[in-house]
């Protein structure tokens, strides 16, 4: 499974790319592989606010569905509208295709996320 350096990760297999007080959120390679062919991504609306660990989106494959949880609390700034018509982008390149861009509410919450090294270890040991 591919793990990209310099991103943060969660135990729910989301990645977070931090840019100042904004962040992109996506699904890890492990997550897209576990789901199989992704057929639909249910996206939130811009300006929706969510707490850390609150479900903000859902991805569906033919045989499974999974909620995506907020790695950190925040407000939705942008959604990746390409996913409406081409949900398979998440299968093709999960790190290039983000799901939402958020404004981080409390940057301290970022400290609780895993580094890429920690996530690799997590994948080896826990999964």
């Amino acid at each position: 499974m591919k793990v990209v350096k310099d991103l943060f990760y969660t135990e729910d297999h989301e990645w977070v790319k931090v840019d100042g007080d904004e962040a992109y959120i996506g699904l890890s390679d492990y997550a897209q592989n576990a789901l199989g062919d992704i057929v639909y991504v249910d996206l939130p609306e811009v300006e929706d606010e969510f707490d850390k660990e609150e479900g903000f989106s859902a991805v569906e494959s033919v045989k499974a569905a999974a909620d995506i949880y907020m790695p950190v609390g925040g407000t939705i700034l942008e959604i990746n509208e390409d996913l409406f018509d081409n949900p398979e982008l998440l299968n093709q390149d999960p790190y290039e295709n983000w799901v939402v861009k958020i404004k981080v509410a409390d940057k301290a919450e970022l400290d609780e996320l895993m580094t890429s090294e920690e996530y690799e270890k997590f994948l080896d040991e826990e999964v």
Binding site: V39, Y40, D42, E60, S61, V62, K63, A64, A65, D67
Partner: protein
């Protein structure tokens, strides 16, 4: 001994030996003594087919049927003619002994008829998507209300009292479970009171639910209701419709309805003392993923050939479990086939003809019954195949006397609508003849 159990005594022994047991009881040794039933069930011993058939047939003869009587009873279940072909197709056991088409490659028959059924319901209602059906008209209303609550994230439903009282009861049972508030709007002269409706529609309203033709048979002014419902942003309009009426009436889609539901029994399904019937639900494409129940979609197989398959399953309980749009797991299967066969048998012209004849015969009946003045129309509004009349006589007494004359009289309105005590709702389908209607009116005439 048991025609449905093929293993012989010898088979039994050989199988037990193979798995290393002496007797059948050993296979139940995992059931602890404290719950084991150490006696025979208190039921009759097994019987031959002939004995069972005799007994059940005898029970059936203790009922008086719509073939013994002339039926003017409706109120949600209707005596429309069922073409012979419907029963012949639904009794093909390749259809009725199969299950939910999980294995698409050997279930194309079921999958395709469901796809055709969905298409027919969409064509009839004008909507974009229909599911593979729900239990009945009442639960379809309740499911639609849950769906609206889910879409809008609101907890109030406003429903007209001109919606079938049974369906409203089902809705209230369901709504209570999720803490959804149900507000009922009174009728005014047999139709939804628009002013009262408007007063209840707020930014908390998930949906407005109406029925047209309504429980009294009257065609509601959906255009006006639509304006009220949609006066609040995001509030949905749910309409319950009689599919036969769509042979002549405007489609719900053209009137701005967001979710269409209804009871499909009239589409080739026998009365059967109330079930099994068929609930249908259809909506706009934007709400497609919030629909409850099974949905069939078109796709291709490995060779690129057209094929059908259950789809959008991530909404459903077997995948989504506690996050499913509904717990529903079955559809009405063979009854959706009946409805599809009925609709294609009648086709473009036939459904219209059935609706037209029902309209004309119902209006003829209304005129005949009320012309002497002993019986009066309860309402003065445009109706389809049902109409309410009232008189000085008690409705139950009228019905008892009609029964003596082999007529199954109308539905007595007084219990559900105390303000219409003595009111009777008559249903007249295309099956009724002038002679039968004339006899009804003359027997009624002689009563008062």
């Amino acid at each position: 001994m048991y025609p449905y159990i093929p293993n012989t005594k010898d088979d039994e022994q050989r199988m037990l030996e193979a798995i290393g047991f002496n007797k059948i009881e050993d296979l139940f040794s995992d059931i602890p003594d404290n719950v084991k039933l150490n006696r025979d069930l208190d039921l009759k011993p097994s019987m031959s087919e002939l004995e069972v058939a005799n007994y059940i047939t005898k029970l059936s003869k203790e009922n008086t049927t719509i073939n013994d009587l002339t039926c003017f009873l409706g109120a949600g279940a209707y005596d429309h003619y069922i073409p012979s072909i419907v029963g012949h197709i639904t009794s093909r056991s390749e259809f009725y002994t199969s299950y939910t088409p999980y294995q698409a490659e050997i279930s194309q028959g079921t999958l395709q008829y469901i796809f055709e059924y969905q298409s027919l319901i969409c064509n009839l209602t004008g909507m974009d998507v229909a599911n593979a059906s729900l239990y009945d008209g009442g639960t379809a209303i309740a499911e639609a209300a849950f769906m609206a609550s889910n879409v809008t994230r609101r907890q109030e439903i406003v429903i007209s009292k001109t919606v079938n009282p049974q369906a409203r009861e089902v809705l209230k049972t369901y709504a209570h479970l999720q803490g959804i508030k149900v507000i009922e709007v009174e009728d005014e002269g047999g139709v939804t009171n628009l002013e009262e409706l408007q007063s209840h529609v707020t930014d908390k309203t998930a949906a407005v639910i109406v029925q047209s033709p309504n429980f009294f048979g009257i065609i509601e002014d959906i255009e006006a209701i639509e304006k009220v419902a949609h006066s609040q942003k995001r509030t949905l309009l749910i309409a319950s419709v009689d599919p036969i009426s769509l042979g002549i009436l405007k489609t719900p889609a053209s009137l701005g309805v967001d979710i269409v539901v209804g009871e499909g029994q009239a589409l080739g399904i026998p009365l059967s003392f109330g079930g099994p019937y068929l609930g249908f639900i259809a909506t706009k494409k934007s709400h497609m993923r919030k629909l409850p129940g099974r949905i069939v979609g078109e796709t291709i197989d490995t060779e690129g050939k057209r094929a059908f398959v259950l789809t959008l399953q991530a909404r459903e309980q077997h995948i989504r479990r506690e996050k499913a749009t509904s717990n529903i797991c079955s559809n009405q299967g063979i009854n959706t086939l009946a409805a599809a066969v009925y609709l294609v048998t009648l086709g473009k012209k036939g459904l219209r003809e059935v609706a037209l004849q029902a309209t004309q015969k119902a209006h003829y009946a209304m005129n005949e019954i009320t012309k002497s003045g002993k019986y009066k129309p309860l309402f003065d509004k445009p109706f389809f195949k049902e109409f309410a009349i009232t008189s000085s006589a008690d409705a139950d007494e009228i019905n008892s006397k009609l029964l003596e004359e082999k007529i199954l009289g109308g539905y007595s309105l007084g219990k559900e609508y105390p303000q219409y005590k003595n009111g009777i709702l008559y249903a007249v389908t295309e099956k009724r003849t002038k002679e039968e209607i004339d006899r009804l009116s003359s027997v009624l005439e002689g009563m008062i």
